[in-house]
């Protein structure tokens, strides 16, 4: 990407590991992504995929936890990992803000909502208490809290989950951030409230021009919200693409699994859900080779040894995948899956007499990885 289109956030080869009594947890293992100004990136993964550590590291919140962090997090060209704690603090809640899954534990229980929003304003702006209070009311109105004057005097426990989440969004917006990181912003909410909060985020993004990184386990939700989607598995991005491409031509067997294992309002009822076998791996003892191979129906013996890199597709640079299957093979499997058939396992289609590495179509260079 040229300097002309320098992204707002560029994360390069981010690695985060936590030493624990049981061993080193490799939470993030060489993650790279970009967020355009005003754009939306969806990071999708299951628990333990590293998606939350991604967000926390961007905010500098994995510091001081004994975490080992390497790589670069460039926000408007500045490497956040090189900043002092003090410099970071001036960014946090200012140009970069975050909202969390559970607003009840993210809000202070002993302060009124209005006071908490006003405090967020005063943390970054030199304004009087009265001005901060007035701004807090504006913000509560912006996030569509009815009767903001009255709700400002309520304690968090007196508000519903949806109102609390709106309150937290108001706090996050207090200083008009350029980047909003939303970690499972609607998971704790009922479905009708969830729809309202997502609509609110989309409207605020349009009005304020901020970029959003939305972190979730819910592919359907990012399909609505994000232009770019990154799918994470075992601390890595295994597939990254514009939303339309990820849904129309997904490349990674894990992405296929996610898309096909979720019941939807459209899929025929008598069709069995295609469950992904097994369970997500531990980040302490990750599977060898391709981390997904123990659960992958199309894995070949060689995939237990070779670690795939995230690489752009030929002729489609905006779409990357970390998979050892050849592109035509992936296309064949996905088209059969879409047609509701069970594709033959990939290994059987390869000429069986040859060694498995040759069958997997690997170059000598890849074999050495």
């Amino acid at each position: 990407m040229s300097a002309a289109a320098e992204p707002l956030l560029r994360v390069e080869d981010l690695r985060v590991s936590f030493p624990t009594e049981d061993g080193v947890v490799h939470a993030l293992d060489g993650v790279s992504y970009e967020v355009a100004r005003g754009g939306t990136l969806g990071i999708v993964g299951e628990s333990g995929s590293g998606k939350t550590v991604c967000a926390l590291s961007t905010m500098g919140l994995t510091r001081g936890q004994g975490a080992e962090v390497s790589g670069r997090i460039l926000f408007q060209g500045r490497d956040l990992l090189a900043l002092s704690e003090r410099q970071l603090r001036s960014l946090r809640g200012g140009e970069i803000a975050m909202i969390f899954q559970d607003p009840l534990s993210a809000l202070h229980p002993l302060f009124k909502l209005g006071a908490q929003v006003a405090e967020a304003v005063r943390a970054h702006q030199h304004v009087s208490r009265a001005q901060a209070r007035a701004r807090a009311l504006e913000l509560l109105e912006l996030v569509a809290i009815p009767e903001p004057g009255q709700r400002a005097n309520a304690y968090p426990h007196e508000l519903s989950g949806g109102m609390r989440q709106r309150g937290m969004i108001a706090m996050a917006l207090a200083n008009e951030p350029k980047l909003l990181i939303a970690d499972e912003p609607t998971t704790a909410l009922d479905v009708t409230v969830q729809a309202q909060i997502l609509a609110l985020l989309a409207r605020l993004q349009r009005e304020l021009g901020m970029a959003i990184v939305i972190i979730t386990h819910d592919l359907a939700m990012v399909a609505e919200m994000a232009q770019q989607i990154a799918v994470m598995y075992a601390g890595r991005i295994v597939e990254k693409a514009p939303a339309e491409l990820l849904f129309s031509a997904p490349q990674h067997p894990y992405t296929w699994g996610l898309l096909r294992s979720i019941p939807t309002l459209e899929r025929p009822r008598d069709e069995r859900l295609a469950a992904i076998p097994g369970a997500p791996p531990s980040l302490i003892e990750r599977p060898s080779g391709c981390h997904f191979h123990p659960r992958c129906p199309y894995a070949r013996p060689a995939h237990a040894r070779i670690d795939p890199a995230l690489q752009p597709l030929a002729g489609r640079p905006q779409h990357s995948v970390a998979c050892l299957l050849e592109a035509p093979e992936r296309a064949r499997i996905w088209s059969e899956l879409r047609a509701g058939r069970t594709p033959a396992p990939a290994a059987e289609t390869a000429s069986g007499a040859k060694g498995s590495d040759e069958a997997a179509g690997l170059t000598a260079a890849q074999r050495r990885r």
């Binding site: 299951e46 309002l265 369970a279």
Partner: protein, 275 residues
């Protein structure tokens, strides 16, 4: 039971919780109408879904059916027998036939007991399979049935993943060969890639064992996949009860339509991709 007779009849079920103030002079300051006049029937072999948002009364309804809570009014009949007023041995006999799977596979299994003891406990409670070898054999069969390796009989819950723990909970619920299985949000605490495993397992067990299922979820897509008929609840009442096809094809209640419209997901994308 004659063909066509419902297995469960719920009539005018009400549960009010009193909100009280004061310790010595307790007085009721408000009443929460958790379940406020709910009636439905469950036909043998079908799956009835209860769907609604937090606090709509769906969990309270099934707890009343199981007599884990005492109803304020109304009655529940199981195979013609009165559940609401059953006592002692009667109630115990009924509970053999109605079992429950809970939402949280972490808190619903005793961490100090082995899987074998957890799944075998119903036999002990009901004085069945008194000899150890026989009980052990039955438990191993149950573990196998829910897709767990019987070799893990002596392991503790913490050694299992969330999805496997939910399978343990299902094995325990099936131990006594119940006719009715009530599953309260059985997959909402599980990772997405695991949910399908548990949903498929429940569907398979249902057709193998001829179970009747009452399935609670807040997730309309999951309910659609699992249930033959669906009751939509709001504020302690059923606002719509219809067949799966009717509810999702032509929902009548405005609230049902609102719920359906709120399901995240890309109507644009998903229809073309997954349809």
């Amino acid at each position: 039971m004659s063909a066509g007779a419902p297995l469960v009849q719920v009539r005018g079920l009400v549960k009010h919780f009193a909100v009280t103030r004061g310790i010595v002079l307790k007085r009721t300051v408000a009443v929460v109408r958790a379940v406020d006049g709910v009636s439905f029937e469950v036909m043998p072999g079908e799956t009835l879904g209860l769907v609604g948002e937090t606090g709509c009364g769906k969990s309270t309804t099934v707890r009343l059916m199981m007599r884990l809570l005492e109803p304020s009014a109304g009655e529940v009949r199981f195979d013609g027998r009165d559940v609401t007023h059953a006592r002692g041995a009667q109630l115990k006999a009924l509970r053999r036939e109605m079992q429950m799977v809970f939402q949280d596979p972490y808190s619903s299994l005793n961490p100090r007991k082995t899987v074998g003891a957890i799944v075998g406990e119903p036999f002990a409670i009901h004085h069945l399979e008194p000899d150890r070898a026989g009980r052990r054999r039955r438990v191993r069969e149950l573990l196998e049935m829910v897709g767990l390796s019987p070799e893990r009989y002596d392991r503790y819950p913490h050694e299992f993943s969330g999805g496997q723990r939910q399978r343990i909970g299902i094995a325990r619920a099936l131990a006594l060969g119940p006719r009715l299985l009530i599953a309260d949000e059985p997959v909402s605490a599980l990772d997405v890639s695991i949910q399908a495993q548990v949903l498929n397992l429940l569907r398979e067990l249902q057709s193998e064992l001829g179970l009747t299922l009452v399935f609670i979820s807040h997730d309309l897509s999951v309910i659609r996949y699992m249930c033959d008929r669906v009751a939509v609840m709001r504020a302690g009442k059923i606002v719509e009860l219809a067949s799966n096809e009717q509810l999702y094809g032509a929902p009548r209640a405005p609230y049902t339509r609102e719920l359906l419209a709120s399901v995240p997901g890309a109507r644009r994308d998903r229809r073309t991709i997954l349809g």
